[in-house]
């Protein structure tokens, strides 16, 4: 046997076959390259997750005022945004600067919206402590099956340098995001909501921003850490599970779209206010709310949309079912169709 031939394992032990040392070296190099590529991809993913964690932290801690433009299709709006922290409570406000007066004020306990023609809508504010979607960390393992989390380079927004992170959907059942994250503060200066074909559906961009504080990370080191909804997971950490124990009785969801599952819900009837039930269906990133209430004739069937938010409605055994979420219409409709009463 020539010395450059190496006996290797084979399927049939009675007929060993031989590979040259060169071939073996090629295989080893190939395996090394493949593992290096995987490691590099994971490193990029980890860097992106760290950026997202920084972004979530900045969103919860920073005080700022600025001007936003909102673009959806051919619809463009200019908005004034302000965020201040009083005590431990954030107060946020948004005001449309063109067209009819529309505004949102998010105060201590309520969120008040002034919609066109001075219609007021107030809903209870939900604190981050009640977060249901990302109770402790972004479930990367779960997201990996449906999204690619990847750095997309650098860009400049509102005169500031940003790093761009993409959360790219792998199918048509969910939207993706492109965040332009301010290198200095971590705030997302531009947020693009994209479909799976990388076409922007909705874009929100700061054209001017003024930070009301000079605090940096060191100055905040002594302050109690606010809860961040995103964090890079420690190695070997179990994936975050949502409120799997949400009691849906007497309802159940069957055949939800791929990757979506029940993550939270209101208590059963009797404790829920006004007889309305609420459930949240999520794939770990996209959130879709399901509202069920006795049909009083003012519900709707079919579908509507406002911006990238789609809504689908149907009546099931005397109950109005309304599904609202930032997800493609087929997904929202499929979730509406997935609801049925327990046998």
């Amino acid at each position: 046997m020539p010395p450059w031939l190496v006996k290797v394992a084979c399927v049939n032990p009675m007929r060993p076959f031989f590979l040259s040392r060169g071939a073996c070296a090629l295989i080893v190099v190939g395996l090394c390259l493949a593992s290096a590529a995987v490691a590099a991809e994971r490193a990029q993913e980890r860097a992106s997750l760290e950026l997202l964690a920084r972004m979530a932290k900045a969103l919860s801690e920073r005080e700022y005022e600025g001007t936003l433009v909102y673009l959806n299709g051919h619809h463009l709006s200019t908005l004034r945004i302000a965020r201040r922290i009083k005590g431990d409570q954030a107060q946020e406000s948004l005001l449309a600067l063109n067209g009819p007066v529309r505004a949102v004020a998010r105060g201590g306990r309520t969120v008040t919206c002034v919609l066109p023609d001075a219609r007021l809508i107030s809903v209870p504010r939900h604190s981050a402590a009640m977060a249901t979607l990302h109770p402790s960390q972004l479930d990367v393992e779960r997201l990996r099956a449906y999204y690619l989390i990847h750095p997309l380079g650098r860009s400049r927004v509102a005169g500031r340098d940003t790093q761009v992170v993409g959360i790219i959907p792998k199918d048509d059942l969910r939207y993706g995001y492109r965040f332009f994250i301010d290198e200095q503060t971590g705030l997302p200066l531009k947020t693009d909501l994209m479909n799976s074909a990388a076409i922007p559906i909705e874009q929100v961009m700061f054209t001017q921003i003024e930070f009301l504080e000079k605090a940096d990370d060191e100055a905040r080191a002594d302050a109690p850490a606010r809860r961040s909804s995103v964090a890079a997971p420690p190695a070997g950490a179990p994936p975050a599970e949502g409120s799997e124990a949400a009691d849906t009785t007497p309802w159940r969801f069957v055949a939800l779209p791929a990757g979506y599952r029940l993550v939270a819900g209101d208590p059963p009837p009797g404790q829920a206010e006004g007889g309305r039930r609420w459930f949240m269906i999520s794939d770990g990133l996209s959130a879709v709310s399901v509202y069920i209430e006795p049909d009083q004739g003012h519900g709707f069937s079919g579908h509507r949309h406002v911006g990238a938010v789609n809504a689908a409605g149907r009546v099931v055994q005397g109950y109005q079912v309304t599904v609202v979420g930032e997800a493609p219409l087929p997904t929202v409709q499929a979730i509406a169709e997935a609801l049925e009463t327990q046998p």
Partner: protein, 209 residues
């Protein structure tokens, strides 16, 4: 002469789109708890829209169609236009003759158009000035006549160029849906990646479609 309260001053600034620092939240809180202030706010919005030439109700948006319908049903003499061939072939019976005897035969139509314009102004401005928030147009009033197809097309084009969709006559289902949208936005933003910024979609849009 009465002195404006701080809430009223904040409200005026809000209507002008120039809230003072901190005044935005105070104005929102004030109109949330004070019905009279809310009515004043709504009147201010309506007057502002009328002054800016923005329509504010479905009834107002259909004024053009109603005028067109009235003109189409006006018993003026109809005949094919012989002086100029039409750009698009259309049944002669649908085309009024504007080329001759305009002063004589179309006087009723002109009067009706003027009257309709006055009605439009009354509908646009009247509720805010006279009847308060409850004095809005009757959205349940059925349309009495269908406009001619050619005019309908013109109206469709005009509607497509409207600056802002209106929502004053929004049915109850849309109001409920808007409330659910805000509730969903709040529940999702408490947990989601992007915090308060997605509310831009709620405020940036003019309503559900």
């Amino acid at each position: 002469m009465t002195t404006a309260t701080p809430e009223q001053r904040h409200l005026a600034a809000l209507i002008d789109g120039e809230p003072d620092p901190g005044g935005f939240e105070r104005a929102i809180e004030a109109i949330a708890r004070d019905a009279a202030l809310r009515a004043r706010f709504e009147r201010g919005l309506l007057i502002g829209r009328a002054l800016r030439g923005e329509t504010s109700s479905l009834a107002a948006r259909t004024i053009g169609a109603r005028v067109s319908a009235a003109l189409a049903s006006e018993p003026v003499r109809m005949r094919p236009d012989r002086s100029r061939p039409p750009l698009r072939p259309a049944p002669a019976r649908w085309r009024p003759d504007w080329s001759s005897n305009q002063g004589a035969s179309n006087r009723p139509a002109a009067a009706l158009a003027i009257a309709a314009s006055l009605v439009a102004v009354a509908i646009l401005v009247g509720p805010g000035l006279i009847g308060g928030p409850s004095g809005g147009p009757n959205r349940d009033a059925p349309s009495r006549a269908q406009p001619a197809p050619a005019l309908t097309e013109i109206n469709a084009i005009a509607q497509a160029w409207m600056v802002e969709p209106r929502t004053l006559d929004e049915p109850a289902e849309s109001r409920v849906l808007s409330a659910l949208l805000v509730d969903h936005r709040e529940r999702a933003s408490a947990s989601g990646l992007t915090g308060f910024i997605p509310y831009a979609a709620v405020v940036g849009q003019s309503g559900l479609r």
